[in-house]
Amino acid sequence: MNKIDLTTPMRQSPKGLLLILVMSLQKMIRAFWPMLIIYFWKNEQFVEYQLEIFAGIGILVVLLVAHAILYYLNFKFHVEKDSFILRKGYLRKQELNIPFERIQSVNYKANVLQRLLKVVSLEIDTAGSVKKELKIMALEMDFAEALKNALNNTASSEETKELTEDAPIKKESSKKLIKLQLGELIKIGLLQNHLQMALIILAFGWQFYNELADTFKEEVSQVSGQVNEQVLQSSLLVIIFMCLLFLAISVVASVIKIIVKFFEFEFTKTEASFQMQAGLLNRKNLIIPFKKIQELSWGTNPLKKAFSLFSIKIKQANSQFDKNKSIMEIPGCEKHTLNQLQEVIFSEDEFLIDRQYKISRKFFWRILLAMGCLPVLISLPLYIFNVVHFTIPVVWFAFSICASWLAVEKRSFRMSENQLIISKGMFGQDWKQLELYKIQVVDFRQSIFQKRSGLASIQIYTASGSTTIPFIAENLAKELHKYLVYKIQATEKSWM
């Protein structure tokens, strides 16, 4: 190994200075972009204030540069005995002291600019709900590697000991499980949930439209006037064509999203961990040791089901940076790969048929109330004066009856001695599997309506999220509560 001294306090790579500057500039532009657009659009109105505006911008830039320099100079870190120490801040000085045993994972990432500068950013994640920003913006690659190794080595002694002892074997035993080429990504993209994508585009488009509408008031009213007229005058055929066009845009958007996110996707299994690499613009590199996995979830939708494809999420304890970073996602794989993962992650355990439970049919009413009745009732005043539009809530209500019925059908859970599988869904279906000793907290819940029908719900919290088993018999819920608490206490194994 290269000799890099980690024990003396040091700064990040000088290139970090540039990065900090660019990042804060980016933040500022993001905050002020509507103003900028107004400024450039209505330029002539600001002519007399030209000088003040430029002076203001100048002062801001000077402040930004000063901030970047001070931030860079005061940002120091080093490794001391068995903890990682980070000092930062110039107005409010902060010292963060992170014992290795609290470190959950160390990841590095590189965005476009960082890749150009040949540096990476290093993020250190800690367990627990205490929020601490632990991110080093710019490190030379070999340096990041050394730091990561240092932190990981001492962090989880057992598993890494195995790793270091078997270091030469490790390379051979690492096995590429999944590799997705462009063609497969396009196929997966085509099989995504396009309705969801359409809604996102709609919501985003609406927001964008609103933000710009104020600036371009006249133009917008002109155009939307034309569009309104056209929509009203046009035949059904045109409307159908518009819908199809919109759907096509959604499909293309789904495919692009999948390609950008999972470009050159590689999923590898090593001696003690899963590793993943993917991404076109931001290359994501994530390692999750087996024993830190909290739960495995997999799902399918009607389109994927036709091609017997599953999407998979491997979850470790929540990261305080970003929920996505604690999740390793596989956009599409076949059943046998899923089974392979299950074999690796979970100990062998038998799921007996007589420990398979469905939930009460009464759950139907609960979902219908939330999904069908409430939205229809709330939006009712909108239709009173326009009876034609009343078809919308009627169609929605019929839709939610179907959805609620399916939701009851698909919700079920299976128990084995040490594991739990929960299934839920409406049109698609999602499963979640977890070892009982990974559970953190168990909740027994019963609303007064449930009490009348002798039902109750169980809520399970793990370090990666929570799951509900709703509307099961009260006795069953009590037994389950008792059993899960017992299972948490009976184990000597650590949950991470």
Partner: protein, 176 residues
């Protein structure tokens, strides 16, 4: 529809596990009900004060009866809230066992949370100004299960809360 549950368990018969529902639950201090009620009354007083001020000063753009109706509505809600708080108070209780701590509350949705000692990350005592007057504390128990699963048992005598905290801390120490 729902099968009867029988958890068979090779190592230990589940029927012999201590039942959580049979636990000896401790009620929180009666004084704490006063704190809860006072909080609501204080909110109501402030709101009524502001409303009446505007009503009598007559400096509003809209009909002043509107203010009175709004206040009436709010006061009805406040009274409902007071009644609910009194009724729900009987349910608040906690139980400490060797290996876990359970807390139950909730009138409309009853909720019983059990946190195992071996999953506790840390324990914290907090005290609001009002609670300080009555010498009461809250015990906050944090786990890695996230904010939603952290429990906060409010309305325990300060000395007792400290005792429970040190007891739990000792147990957490044993597990590490």
């Amino acid at each position: 529809m729902i099968e009867k549950l029988e958890f068979e368990n090779k190592e230990i018969d589940i029927q012999e596990l201590p039942k959580i529902e049979d636990l000896q639950f401790n009620k929180v201090e009666k004084k704490f009900l006063l704190v809860l009620l006072l909080r609501i009354v204080m909110f109501a007083l402030v709101f009524n004060g502001i409303g009446l001020f505007f009503y009598f000063s007559g400096k509003m753009g809209f009909p002043s009866e509107g203010i009175l109706y709004t206040l009436l509505g709010i006061n009805i809600l406040v009274i409902l809230r007071l009644l609910m708080t009194i009724m729900a108070f009987k349910i608040r209780a906690y139980a400490l066992r060797e290996r876990d701590i359970s807390y139950q509350r909730g009138l409309i949705t009853f909720k019983q949370t059990t946190v195992s000692v071996n999953r506790i990350q840390h324990v914290e005592l907090t005290q609001s100004v009002l609670m300080k007057l009555f010498n009461l504390s809250s015990i906050k128990i944090y786990t890695a299960g996230g904010n939603q699963s952290d429990i906060s048992i409010a309305g325990i005598k300060k000395e007792k809360a400290e005792e429970i905290k040190s007891l739990l801390s000792k147990k957490i120490g044993q597990h590490e």
